[in-house]
């Protein structure tokens, strides 16, 4: 017992620093850091989205060029029709959004990297997690506030490094967000006509990733220690909101997987700059030069290391969204989460299994077929905890007294997109089927559906749900709803159509229309739909920006608990004081996180810190 009392944490209330630089810029306050992460992610999201609209325009343009070229071949050279079409083609080829193939790949690579790392990995964890994990478990701050600051600024450095890749000689890297060698490993293989000493873009890319790994590692340590050590009295593990569970599992995934990405990046950096050849195979000629005179390394090694990280990474992006969706569905259906324990085990199950399936990204790589079968089976198994979660979400809202406010809409959107995208995953996870689907738009559709937008919907949900807590103002409800519907419909059109294009065999990462079937009427029509919808959906994001700015300036005042939720962040003021709870007195927890509509209770919800009597003894035991 003495040891317990031993580690009992003393409550130190620090004064907020008065100098605004320490208070708001180089701050160790988890709330400020959370907002910083969130802003970084928002900026990155808009940059990434802008890039995608740009290359969508280019693709549509190329589709027209390909079709016009077909027509041209039927006409007599020099005739009036011929000249007219020729002029049209020339006009298209010189449009501002026209790209050279290597430029297309560069923009594509930056789009993927920015969104996967700077948005999907930062906002759900670094942003919302930083702000709300300590408050939800009832702590004054993260376990290591200074390390927390370090991880944000390292992430920022990583962001700056990545952005610099746009401007260096040789331009942005073009090996894709997965950075596959040999293309990424051979300094002058960028193929964009750059004549200098190897493109720096790829080096900056690797460097940025390496810094990011380190930042994430530090962040993950902080999250895990905070969750286990800093829970307030009564906040047992099984009383933590599912959001906290999700952040906890995500942090474990980050702790274990970024370590491997670091190695993948390190070896790549060495290959590029110090003459090693881990990933450069023997017998590889580039520009008529044999690169290594020995057996060489193996590009497959990189793929293994990368995807060992890569699959857990996709869960790092989505798991916080799952936690939040559970939290919101319960809160807005005024019902306890259906099967809380099952949800916890399922999150853990997904986390654990997520480490056993990385090979499903490599079915076509020429890896050992026996291993491929094992990976295929394990991939199917991940469907089980995913299905548990989905059915529990449905169970949660079933028969509930649903409030269709915007956080609920986004949470439902999350569930919907997760299911749609996940079903695509079941197709892809089967070795034999994936041999056809691999590297087609079907894959692009799958992962955008699930990671590109389901996870982003999680962030929208988090933003509208917690905006009142962070700013003290409500977001504008009609604007949020309009934004939800535009975005939800838009992304469904875009990515379902991409699935269809993939079914027809349209390869991904092509900047032009090299084969005849690609310039068929069908494909070009599909490209037209996608590009037009993408422009529409991207424009709809302006609604979100307007909403943010407008609500910040003139939003309705929010009370402490505008959504009538139960978790601890709603027990403090909006916005919370520097020390999170009034005078730094930590609340004591007496109830589970989802005590909605408890029979015989005075209100339709019991907050976690309500006194024990708030829950009538006649009510059935919680989960």
């Amino acid at each position: 017992m003495s040891s317990e009392a031993a580690a009992e944490h003393a409550v130190h209330v620090h004064q907020a620093p008065t100098n605004p630089i320490w208070r708001y810029v180089f701050s160790t306050d988890h709330k400020v850091i959370g907002i910083q992460y969130w802003i970084l992610a928002l900026v990155s999201a808009f940059v990434g989205m802008g890039l995608s609209v740009w290359f969508r325009l280019h693709l549509l343009n190329q589709g027209h060029v390909a079709q016009l070229t077909d027509q041209l071949s039927l006409l007599v050279e020099g005739s009036a029709d011929y000249n007219a079409i020729k002029a049209k083609i020339d006009a298209l080829q010189t449009a501002w959004y026209h790209m050279e193939p290597s430029q297309y790949l560069g923009i594509l690579t930056m789009h993927g990297t920015i969104l996967v790392f700077m948005v999907l990995t930062t906002a759900p964890m670094g942003g919302f997690g930083n702000y709300f994990l300590p408050i939800q478990v009832g702590a004054l701050d993260m376990a290591f506030p200074r390390l927390n600051m370090l991880s944000f600024w390292l992430t920022f450095l990583s962001f700056v490094t990545l952005m610099a890749a746009f401007f260096v000689p040789g331009g942005s890297p073009n090996a894709g967000w997965t950075g596959y060698p040999p293309l990424s490993a051979v300094p002058d293989s960028q193929g964009n006509g750059y004549q200098g000493p190897g493109g720096w873009g790829q080096d900056l890319w690797v460097l940025s990733i390496a810094i990011f790994c380190f930042a994430s590692l530090v962040g993950a340590i902080n999250f895990i220690v905070t969750t286990l050590d800093l829970r307030t009295k009564g906040m047992t593990l099984m009383r933590m909101p599912l959001t906290c569970w999700a952040w906890f599992v995500t942090a474990i995934l980050a702790l274990l997987s970024f370590a491997v990405l670091l190695v993948a990046g390190l070896l790549l950096l060495l290959d590029r700059n110090l003459g090693t050849s881990f990933y450069v195979p023997g017998d590889l000629f580039v520009s008529n030069k044999l690169l290594v005179d020995h057996k060489g390394g193996s590009p497959l090694l990189f793929q293994h290391l990368f995807w060992f990280f890569g699959h857990p990474e996709v869960y790092i992006a989505i798991v916080p969204g799952m936690g939040l969706a559970s939290h919101l569905l319960s809160s807005f259906a005024r019902k306890p989460v259906f099967g809380y324990r099952a949800m916890v085990y399922a999150i853990f199950g997904i986390g654990v299994l997520g480490f056993f399936v990385w090979g499903h990204h490599m079915f076509q790589s020429g890896m050992s077929p026996y291993v491929a079968v094992a990976f295929s089976v394990m991939t199917m198994v991940v469907g089980v905890p995913s299905a548990i979660k989905t059915f529990n979400w449905l169970g949660t809202i079933w028969g509930g007294n649903i409030r269709f406010q915007s956080p609920m809409l986004y949470a439902l959107g999350f569930v919907s997109l997760f299911v749609t995208g996940g079903i695509g995953g079941i197709f892809l996870g089967q070795n034999a089927v994936d041999i056809y689907f691999h590297d087609t738009y079907f894959v692009v559709g799958h992962f955008h559906m699930i990671m590109g937008v389901a996870a982003i919907f999680g962030m929208f949900a988090g933003t509208v749900y917690w905006f009142p807590k962070v700013t003290g103002k409500m977001m504008n409800e009609p604007l949020s709803q309009a934004h939800f519907w535009c975005t939800f419909l838009g992304v469904n059109v875009i990515f379902i159509v991409m699935h269809l294009m993939g079914l027809e065999g349209h390869p991904r990462r092509y900047s032009g229309f090299a084969f005849e079937f690609l310039s068929s009427d069908y494909m070009v029509r599909m490209h037209t739909i996608v590009t037009h919808t993408a422009i529409f959906t991207a424009s709809a994001q302006v609604l979100f920006l307007i909403n943010l700015v407008y609500s910040l300036a003139a939003g309705k005042k929010a009370g402490d608990n505008p959504w009538e939720s139960t978790s601890l962040e709603w027990a403090t003021t909006s916005p919370p004081p520097f020390e999170n709870f009034k005078d730094g007195v930590l609340p004591e927890v007496h109830h589970g996180p989802y005590e909605y509509s408890v029979p015989d209770a005075a209100k339709d919800y019991i907050m976690q810190h309500d006194p024990p009597e708030a829950r009538p003894a006649t009510a059935p035991a919680p989960h």
Partner: protein
């Protein structure tokens, strides 16, 4: 925020010089055994497995006694160790691939 709290309270296992010295001797001795094995010509696979086994014993000594893990709560050890070991062990799934490449190299090699 517990940075300052635990100093006076944390349960400290009585320091045992003898035990630590014994571990140090053990580590040195095992190292010498490993070096000796390099003189005996074992087939590479046997050699690797033996060496890794010995290294695992050494690692256990360092973690258990030097790093104090033996005296921490079981729940702590169970939180930390299996997780790490399983993750590391998983990387071994890469090897069937490496052996396939071996085959290709071997076929393509002028001196098999």
């Amino acid at each position: 925020m517990s940075d300052h709290a635990a100093e006076h309270h944390e349960e400290h296992h009585e320091f045992n010089l003898k035990e630590n010295l014994a571990v140090w001797f053990g580590l040195v001795a095992l190292t010498l055994v490993e070096v000796y094995l390099a003189y005996v010509h074992l087939p590479p696979a046997t050699m690797l497995i033996t060496l890794l086994g010995l290294s695992a014993i050494k690692a256990a000594g360092i973690m258990g006694v030097f790093m104090h893990l033996k005296f921490e709560r079981v729940s702590f050890v169970l939180t930390l160790v299996p997780l790490t070991i399983v993750t590391i062990a998983l990387l071994a799934i890469m090897f069937p691939d490496a052996l396939r490449l071996y085959m290709f190299h071997w076929i393509g090699s002028p001196t098999p």
